[in-house]
Symmetry: C2
Amino acid sequence: MSRPVEFDRDQAVQKAVHLFWQRGYQATSLADLLEAMGLSRSSFYAAFGDKRGLFVECLDVFAVRNQAILRRTRDRKPPMAALRSYFERNFGQTSEPDLHFGCMLVNTVIELAAIDQGLCDLAGQHLKTVQDLFEACLRDAGAEPDEAKQAAAFLMMVNEGARVSDRQRISIPDQLARINLAFGYVESSMAARTELGR
Amino acid sequence: MSRPVEFDRDQAVQKAVHLFWQRGYQATSLADLLEAMGLSRSSFYAAFGDKRGLFVECLDVFAVRNQAILRRTRDRKPPMAALRSYFERNFGQTSEPDLHFGCMLVNTVIELAAIDQGLCDLAGQHLKTVQDLFEACLRDAGAEPDEAKQAAAFLMMVNEGARVSDRQRISIPDQLARINLAFGYVESSMAARTELGR
DNA sequence: ATCTTTCTGGAACGGTAGGTCCATAATTAT
DNA sequence: ATAATTATGGACCTACCGTTCCAGAAAGAT
């Protein structure tokens, strides 16, 4: 076998994630993608099938990368601190100066709910996985099963809301204050149950 | 002066709001709009300028209608109950059987943040007005100035998160449970301050 | 050097987008 | 009736969309 230099597939997908994350599915044209990924039309269709196929792949990549943030800190910090740092890391300073793209999964749910139910459901499943991670952390922190489930659902709602505000370029201090308030509520509620017996 | 029968402008705008709310800005084509509004291309451009102009008008109409829900119940119920019913009404049963469109303002922020900053900012301003309404209700309920501001920001985050889940067709009981939890947090926090000290 | 395989650049496709234009129909004032 | 005014239907425009196709360039295998 033989072929011209292979392009770096993973790197190309990363570029695509960045574009889709920033501009959404519909507003990202094939021309935009080809330029950013640095490959030709023909290679694109050979490698990814079509635009929608690439988007599915990007959703998966984003979701894995996003969950990894939480999974890694979970090994190194107490469970509640890991949860907090997941929220804070997503909204604090980033590698890029102006990275207020929210969450690609949330953006997808909103943009495509009435347009492409398959893509919307896929994004929703990934979000559900994150919510399950929240629940696991809360269990580790001592929450009762039902309490953990409720609090995880609440924190996912907070997460989604924070991502919306992020797209509006809310100030970082304001953002952190709201997140801190939400965690204060959850933690004091858990503490209350623990202190005054079961 | 003289002219053929005028079309009902307000009614046409209502139809457009419904479409934009459901499908978003980009995915709503002119053909969709003309059919729903029941008018011809020429009349459309004469009356609204262009698609973007109509969208601006729709954002305003939606925002006013949305705020009216809260303003009206505020006259007839205690402030915290009015706030709660704003959240519950937006996610409980509606006139239409499957009206899981979220909030048009939130949808616009997410869809157009990187596409049309003007429209995104306009939607953001309308959301800020709602947040100010939240704050006023909390003041009426006895919150201190800073406490009211913080809690209003928190509730706006909850509101935005709830709208995202709404587009994912979250079950109504789950939705109400999360909202109830959020309000429980805010109310018990306010009660704690009132009881002990100050 | 030749063959084989893989990727490339670019032309071309049909479809649809938002927007413009104009001849015609409809209505009121005179 | 006639004139003046205004909305209508629909053809038309340009631009771009995602996708397909193909001749040819590049590189390892023989």
